[in-house]
């Protein structure tokens, strides 16, 4: 090794060493200076232990969360053993001493009485006491915090009770989240696109008009109608593939063509790579229906609906376009905001569902103006994180 290199190396090592020592020295001196009085320190320690215990309980009383928070809570109460249970079993035990099967049995008895009475219980053994305090959600006990201590005084019992109250608050929040998720799920079910009554009425009328003149066509149309309704009434799954949705749109358009004849033309440009992408069930058909109903129906000479689907990195981009009468953007935004009803309900429905599934930035993108046609674009991630699609399967 050349001398110059050696010198450089030594200088580097020394500089880094000084920097590291200086950094830690500064941190330590600052932290002791700021600690303040004993009382302040005690408050700080308590709050710190509490804040360590909190995040683990945000999913409610789970085995993993309980294990982590039990550790923090035992340090907070400064007792040899702390355990968290649900209404039947011990979820987690954090012990500084050997936790024997015998002790476990005693603990079970202690928290069972606490659960039964809904009040903090003290169970005295020889030389050590169990203090069990119930975790209440609403008026129902859902679990307990149980601590073992050599001699349980009134102060310790009160401390355990307070910890249990604190844990109760956290678990209640978790249940609130769960309720919120359930609410969302119910809302999703309600939003699931329904087949429009107009469409049923119009289709049946169109079919009726063919029964005498062209019975074979009428029969075909009835079968298409049956297949389309079966698709839209199916119960299973919030998702479908783009290929299946296109099939449903095909049936839908066949039925509409029975009414409009050749006034509706369709142009498709689908990248085969995105056909197997999972998209929300009935998320495109309402857009096509909107194009027919509000774009082309009003024009005597009809028009063209183009459906395109392309790949864009992690997303599939699907758009439905018509060259019909277009919409007033002002009116449209009030529809999407939910302040106007009746018109374009299907659009709003799809928009809300997309936002719930894929986040607020992934709703419908609509380009339109009166007389200029309408283009509606969806940008759908190819992969949907599990958990968000709770009603799947």
């Amino acid at each position: 090794m050349s001398p110059a290199l050696q010198i450089t190396l030594i200088v580097t090592i020394v500089t880094v060493g000084i920097a590291v020592i200086g950094y830690f020295g500064f941190k330590i001196s600052r932290s002791t200076k700021e600690m303040g009085t004993d009382a302040e320190e005690a408050t700080f320690t308590t709050l710190h232990h509490m804040s360590v215990a909190v995040p683990h309980l945000e999913r409610g009383l789970t085995v993993e969360g309980a294990a982590k928070s039990a550790k923090a809570l035992r340090r907070l109460l400064n007792c040899p053993v702390l355990l968290i249970s649900d209404t039947r079993h011990i979820l987690a035990t954090d012990a500084g001493i050997e936790f024997t099967a015998d002790l476990e049995e005693q603990a079970s008895e202690a928290f069972s009485t606490a659960l039964a009475t809904g009040k903090t219980q003290v169970k005295r053994l020889s030389g050590q006491d169990f203090v069990a305090a119930p975790i209440m959600v609403g008026n129902q006990p859902v679990g307990t915090v149980t601590a073992l201590t050599p001699r349980a005084g009134a102060g310790f019992v009160r401390a355990v009770s307070e910890v249990a109250v604190f844990v109760s608050a956290q678990v209640s929040t978790a249940q609130l989240d769960e309720n919120k998720a359930m609410l969302l799920e119910a809302q999703m079910r309600a939003l699931r696109a329904q087949i429009s009554p107009h469409f049923i009425y119009n289709s049946l009328n169109a079919i009726a008009s063919f029964i005498n003149t062209d019975p074979a066509r009428a029969r075909e149309l009835v079968i298409e109608f049956a297949d389309f309704t079966r698709y839209s009434f199916r119960r299973r799954g919030e998702f479908t593939t783009l290929a299946e949705e296109l099939e449903a749109i095909d049936r839908y358009l066949l039925l509409e063509k029975a009414r409009f004849g050749d006034r509706i033309k369709v142009s498709l440009q689908i990248a085969p790579e995105v056909l197997s992408t999972r998209i929300p069930f009935l998320s495109l058909q309402p857009l096509v229906e909107n194009a027919v109903r509000h774009g082309l129906e009003a024009r005597p000479d009809g028009g063209v609906i183009s459906i395109t689907a392309t790949e864009d990195g992690m997303h599939a981009v699907i758009s439905v376009e018509d060259d019909g009468v277009g919409m007033d953007p002002e009116q449209l935004s009030s529809v999407l905001a939910g302040t106007t009803v009746n018109m374009h309900v299907g659009l709003r429905n799809v928009d809300v569902r997309l936002r719930q599934l894929y986040g607020n930035s992934n709703g419908l993108i609509i380009d339109t103006a009166p007389g200029a046609g309408t283009q509606i674009t969806l940008r759908i991630p190819k992969f949907l994180a599990p958990g968000t699609a709770s009603i799947d399967e």
Binding site: G237, A243, Q269, S361
Partner: protein, 491 residues
């Protein structure tokens, strides 16, 4: 030596690639027939597309170079590159498709919903693997450019990066499986034509038995790899293919798990056919190696061979074809990798927005260009072999155990992947700093796969056993989803 035809071929390939990118959408069919529009990508097309993206600088130039360099043991590389797909077929293809995952981090997230850190670590590993994989492509581009046109080598990586950035950002090239499938057939043709001409030129020269003898002696005379290195390379290539991000992404295009399997079988066939060519060229290279000009880099064998054997216009035009094929290889593999990489980066740091994807694309190409320009080229096939070893020690255990072992835990997966990454990465780094010596220790550092892959598996299993309590509650449901054959009507 400036060869006008080669320069022309290079420009044509780059310009064509960009034109396809800008007008890519026009290639997809416009129809009013729903039945036609809903036809999914057939396994044949998909397999060709995978071949087009997979056959990189290492396959196109490196394999022949390695045969010249290390004789018959160089043959293990094409065998390993192909046989990896057998492992993919047997263990990963169908379950991965059924999992609905688009990328490897997606798979980690499906298997372990709770663990955010596992997804993060997997993402970072994918990023590292992509970067490591892109650098040799850039080296190949530098080598090809300087040999074909005499221009300074650093221009090669810059051209490839620029073309890839433009094509990926404009987004056209990606949507067309057809284009990638065409890449495979183009690369195949770019090697078939010169090989046939060279064989016709060489065969009449001597009586065939004498020729075979001379090939055999040539192959054996070159100092090859020892037993340990051979085993290590085979392990790395077999298991490394299982974790290649740009290959796995393509499986999402298959409509069902069954289609994923058919695709893989066809890929096996396509690759087997392709690798006949660089192998033949490598053997021819051995025969003509002295004429190729002493210490010229062996990776350039395929590029130099046509003009070494044939004179004049014919030699020049064959060289031009090979140069075009080589650039197509760099461009297609790099763009596949950049798309995977940019996808992972944009998902991780930019919440998957369009703008985020564009920024990520630039980031994804800029760093490898920089690395490629400041470092010198290793043997291409060897450099890619190292990437396979790294993938085999990190992503492969996650996929294999994640698919086939229900007791895997998130912590086990993290521990195993980090151990594999550290062991393999450090070994490769240290071996590149040490002077070359012929001891077992050095070989173990230079080809770490034989011990780092089992180590990653062992750590993953041991830590999972130790944290057996945290096996996800939905493990059985997910396993069922991965392994139960698809219903006829999807989902």
């Amino acid at each position: 030596m400036i060869n006008l035809l080669s320069a022309l071929a290079l420009v044509v390939v780059c310009v064509t690639t960009m034109l396809i990118a800008f007008h890519g959408l026009r290639l997809s069919r416009t129809t009013s027939d729903f039945y036609v529009a809903s036809r999914t990508v057939r396994p044949w097309w998909n397999a060709s597309a995978i071949g087009g993206e997979y056959l990189s600088a290492a396959s196109f130039l490196g394999v022949a170079g390695l045969i010249v360099l290390s004789g018959q043991s160089g043959l293990w590389f094409p065998i390993g590159y192909t046989a990896g797909y057998l492992m993919l077929l047997l263990f990963v293809a169908a379950p991965l498709r059924r999992s609905q995952a688009y990328t490897i981090p997606d798979f980690a997230q499906i298997r372990f919903e709770e663990s955010k850190s596992l997804r993060k670590i997997t993402t970072y590993l994918v990023v590292v693997i992509c970067w490591l994989y892109i650098v040799p492509q850039m080296h190949g581009a530098a080598l090809t450019l300087s040999i074909a046109t005499g221009l300074p080598g650093w221009l090669g990586p810059v051209i490839v990066a620029a073309v890839v950035c433009i094509t990926v950002v404009s987004g056209g090239m990606r949507s067309v499986t057809f284009v990638q499938a065409f890449q495979y057939w183009f690369k195949l043709a770019a090697l078939v034509v010169p090989t046939i001409f060279l064989l016709f030129q060489v065969i009449p020269e001597q009586s065939s038995t004498a020729r075979l003898d001379s090939i055999a002696t040539q192959l054996e005379s070159v100092a090859g790899l020892n037993l340990y290195e051979t085993i290590s390379i085979i392990l790395a290539l077999l298991f490394g293919t299982l974790g290649l991000p740009h290959v796995l992404v393509r499986f999402y295009t298959n409509p069902t798990g069954q289609a994923a399997r058919s695709t893989t079988v066809i890929v096996l066939g396509l690759l087997s056919v392709f690798y006949l060519l660089p192998t033949t060229l490598g053997v021819l290279g051995l025969l003509y190696a002295p004429q190729l000009g002493g210490n010229a880099e062996t990776d350039a064998t395929v590029l130099l061979l046509p003009s070494a054997v044939l004179d004049g216009f014919l030699g020049d035009s064959l060289t031009a074809i090979v140069v075009g094929g080589a650039f197509a290889a760099f461009l297609s593999t790099t763009s596949g990798l950049v798309v995977s990489l940019a996808g992972a980066l944009s998902q991780e740091f930019f919440a998957g927005t369009v703008r985020g994807f564009r920024i990520s694309t630039v980031l994804a190409t800029a760093l490898p260009v920089f690395i490629a320009v400041v470092t010198s080229s290793l043997a291409l096939a060897g450099a890619i072999g190292n990437v396979f070893a790294f993938t085999a020690s990190t992503i492969c255990p996650l996929l294999l155990l994640g698919i086939w072992w229900r007791s895997l835990t998130a912590r086990g997966a993290i521990a195993g992947m980090l151990t594999g990454a550290a062991a393999c990465g450090l070994a490769l780094m240290i071996s590149s700093l040490l002077p070359e010596v012929d001891t077992l220790w050095f070989h173990m550092l230079r080809q770490p796969a034989a011990w780092s892959v089992p180590l990653a598996f062992v750590v993953m299993i041991a830590v999972s056993r130790a944290t057996a309590r945290s096996v996800p509650a939905n493990a059985d449901r997910i396993m069922a989803r991965l392994h139960v054959p698809d219903r006829d009507s999807a989902f």
